[in-house]
Amino acid sequence: MNKELEHSFVIQLEKNQNIAHKICRLYTNDQDSHNDLFQEITIQLWRAFPKFRGDSKFSTWMYRVALNTAITLYRKSKRQISTQDFEGVSFKIKAEEYDDTIEQQLKLMYGAVKKLNDIDKALVFLYLEDKSYREISETLGITEVNARVKMNRAKEKLRKILNP
């Protein structure tokens, strides 16, 4: 039974691992921390998995647990505070598809999002993942109106970071 549960969990996580990687990239600044956080997310998901009833999609459930781990449970290591490795963000662009200007703009935008506080980052992340305000508010535990207000403020902060 346990083996079956493990198998079904690993299959689903393997399929949906992009969600965790995207969160790891936003909340950490180097590869070691990325791997640490990914592992912690996996452990937290696995622990909570027996209670996952399947009445929502695995991915929906995963957003919540993975974000909670990144924002609340994960202990940042010291090296993260000192490094601001935006270059490591890895937006490897194929030269024939994008010109340098777009590449540069994206890098700047990614850098700006990484500068936001943990909560604003979560809001922007869910927005980028095309989540509705209802889903955002349910994930973070705030009202929908507040999610909208906060999102607008986060956008304003991004504008200020990009155009100081």
Partner: protein, 212 residues
């Protein structure tokens, strides 16, 4: 914001550039131990509970004998019964709050249950520190007003301690020791909270701010 929406398109179209972890590697991760803040809070909290409870078991025999000889043994006995009942209540609430920490709750609820668990332990410590201060004041006051009996019971005469000014020196020493102990406790908690809860608290405040 046009720029963010432009970024959104890119964000969604570049998933293939993310790393891929294999089935076997994910499988191996299931066996790894968590290093989450909740685990640390649990360890530190249990250590604190044990520390404060064990203090009552390591009071030197001489001190207990002294209390009895000074005539306050019975009061001490009953106050210990009250203490241990209060400890039981705290441990019950700590366990109940700890159990309520669920990673599947929404972010605000999760933070709230972690902070609530910590708060139980904090109140437990407040209770102990206040009891420590209160009982020190009462006992010191009692000893001060019965200093000649204390001088006799502790047999200071044979140790060559002069009776004159003895009460003042005794009380000043007690106060200094008390202040040092409380200072160390404050430092310890300042460090524990600083390391463990700073980020969580500021994130919680950030979420609360939205509710204004």
């Amino acid at each position: 914001m046009d720029e963010l929406d432009k970024f959104k398109k890119e964000w969604q179209s570049r998933e293939q550039e993310l790393p891929k972890i294999s089935y076997n590697d994910i499988y191996k991760m299931l066996l790894k131990k968590s290093s989450s803040i909740v685990k640390w809070i649990f360890i530190i909290s249990v250590a604190e509970l044990l520390f404060w409870i064990s203090l009552y078991f390591i009071i030197p025999e001489d001190n207990i004998k002294l209390m009895h000889e000074m005539g306050i043994g019975k009061i001490l006995y009953y106050s210990n019964i009250v203490h241990f009942s209060v400890f039981g209540i705290f441990i019950f609430f700590f366990y109940k709050n700890y159990q309520s920490i669920q990673v599947t709750d929404n972010t605000k609820m999760l933070m709230n249950s972690i902070l609530k668990t910590r708060k139980t332990v904090r109140y437990f410590v407040y209770y102990n520190v206040s009891m420590f201060i209160l009982s020190s004041i009462v006992i010191d006051f009692f000893f001060y007003s019965n200093s000649s009996k204390l001088y006799e019971v502790m047999d200071f005469a044979s140790k060559g301690v002069p009776e004159e000014g003895f009460a003042n020196i005794f009380i000043i020493t007690q106060i200094i020791v008390g202040i040092v102990v409380i200072g160390l406790l404050v430092l310890f908690y300042w460090l524990v909270y600083g390391i463990l809860l700073k980020r969580l608290k500021s994130n919680y405040r950030e979420l609360e701010k939205m509710e204004d």
